[in-house]
Amino acid sequence: MNKTLAILVWGMIAVLGAMALSTIAFHRGEPINALWLVVAAACCYSLGFRFYSKFIAVKILALNGLRATPAERLENGRDFLVTNKWVVFGHHFAAIAGPGPLVGPVLAAQFGYLPGTMWVLAGAVFAGCVQDFVILLFSVRRDGMSLTEMAREETGRLGGFVAYVAVIAILTILLGVVALIVVNALKSSPWGTFTIAMTIPIAILMGVYLRRIRPGKVLEISAIGFVLVLAAIWGGQFVSQNPSLARFFTFTAPTLAILIMVYGFAASALPVWLLLAPRDYLSTFVKLGTISLLAVGIVLFHPALHMPALTRFADGTGPVFAGKIFPFAFITIACGAISGFHALISSGTTPKMIARETETRVVGYGAMMAESAVAMMAIIAACVMNPGVYFAINSPAGVVGQAPVAATAAISNWGFPVSSSEMQSLAHAVGEQTLFNRTGGAPAFAVGMAHIFSHSLGGERLMALWYHFAIMFEALFILTILDAGTRVARFMIQDALGHVYKPLGRTSWYPSILATSALIVAAWGYFLWQGVKDPLGGINSLWPLFGISNQLLATVALCVATTIIIKTHRGKYAVVTMVPLAWLVAVTFTASWQKMFDPNPRLGFLAQARVLAAGPATSTTSRLIFNNRLDALVTGALVVLVTLILVESIRQWMGILSGAKEARVKESPFVKTRFAGEQG
């Protein structure tokens, strides 16, 4: 493309993007069409990738296509492997795409569609994509070193320790929260529970097929498994309509919580390959298929968003979770804009597959844009609903009351009219007994997704099937994260314990496997149980705690990245990572302070503990007080740890910039690539 044409095309994209963003920002009154969000996102991502990521690639990272990557130098056919960049892109995206960008934006929609949309776009382009890109490149230049190892090498032992503790903490809280989302989605839902239960025999069948009938044909059996799951979703309606069958699949939240903890322990401690690996494949198949289908559905149906741009809950009195837009919209959206957890993937499998340094741009920056696009779809799914319905689904009984009439009256009084008959007919349409108080984001996302699908693919009569398809998709996805996360955390604890007593570090020694599995399940199970028993629905305290820990991990990653940039004498450009770092510090530290010390008992953990202590004592009061104090302690401990690494990093930056300290970068030596003559 010649230069004039390029200027013209990019100029038009910029103008179109500006128009779409202005419409989103200033449109009031009538519902806005979702296509404005799609256009704004497409323009922002295109401009961000074309100009900002290129600037970072050239000026800061100085990507060198002649430098051999670890995939080439250390190729072993197992983990180090030269791979096509688009294949690595798909692999990386499949690894970073989790439930976070689906659930977070749905919960943050209580502020209206505007705050979430703006942060998902700006946060991804200027923070999330940058973090994933630079960490990926720095890991590639260090033979695929992990974030914790880079933190230790570049910012000292303390950095390594903090990164390690942050990873364990975020894993524990994450697993507790996602388990709570599944519990809230499946409680009193025989149809949903039956579908998920059926994935067990389907996965075992897939395992037998893979081992005995057609060894290694994973794609083939995943497609068959997917068809069987669709049949299970279809069959679920008959189970839910038959009272004698339905009672076998109708569970209360505490029973489901216990079942999930038993599942998590078994998945970590027992050699259950026959169930877990095939289900993992099935979950990936469903995940990739559903995300693509949702994108198609949104473009085909291009629904109107009924949620206003900004709701009255910007003042912090929201029923879904307490707290003002700043900092809680940012904490809640988390992974859709920037996720500390991505730094683990960018310094895990992916750097060992990159063929050339120049490809880190499309993989690191590009895959995070795709993740952000998923978050945009979640915002659209949440905002297509009548706001009254959205609040009826997402408000806990402790806020709006248990009875439908009381709940709808409270929500209508907030200015979001909804009636109990409307909720009843919606519940009937999706094949549920009730949709009141289904906190956690998953049921609301499922209703939104069913709304989009039923209007674009199949008509209203399929609403119930689409709803349960969405619930199955989310629950299957989350259960896979639960078993994989429990095992990863178990390995990390075993690695650490191995330094204290060698046999504990052996991953094949059963006493160690059982003890560490029990430890990690007890840790996340505690948070799950706390959420199940919480009169405010659990999400109000646990999702912000997850968001804070996730964003604190991103703070650690950006500290490491900034330190490396300064060490490579490109200090004047360090602002590219320093600005998102400063923003994250402001957001996470403010949120942490408010979650610990705010006098509003719905917001501050300690204030709630004080209110409970002053109120009438019941059998659960002392437990609830303890939980709130524990949450405050966990939040405080995380902040202290991250403050330590921040102070240590700033000390290093000052030393290097003032010339008092030598800037020693610990990169692998330059080796010329054998692909030097090829295009790329």
Binding site: G77, R78, D79, L81, T83, N84, W86, V87, F89, G90, H91, A94, A95, I96, A97, G98, P99, G100, I170, L171, L174, V178, L210, R211, R212, P215, G216, K217, V218, L219, S222, W273, A277, Y281, T284, F285, L288, A334, C335, S339, F341, H342, L344, I345, G348, T349, T480, I481, A484, G485, R487, V488, F491, T507, F546, N550
Partner: protein, 62 residues
């Protein structure tokens, strides 16, 4: 037209390669290559034994 067909062919081939990588079929093919063996129940069981430890340590994102 030929160029379009070629581009479409390349796109489909890349999609299939990506799916084969994500679903570990490519990893199994590499294992067979390395071990100098052919697809069978035994070779797949051996691949899983080797691969399991590697895969189980991979973090899964939120």
């Amino acid at each position: 037209m030929n160029r379009m067909q070629e581009m479409l062919g390349r796109f489909i081939a890349t999609m299939i390669a990506t799916l084969r990588e994500v679903f570990d079929e490519a990893a199994y093919a590499r294992f067979l290559d390395r071990a100098g063996t052919t697809p069978s129940r035994e070779s797949y069981a051996a691949f899983r034994r080797e691969f399991e430890e590697l895969k189980m340590r991979r973090p899964r994102c939120c």
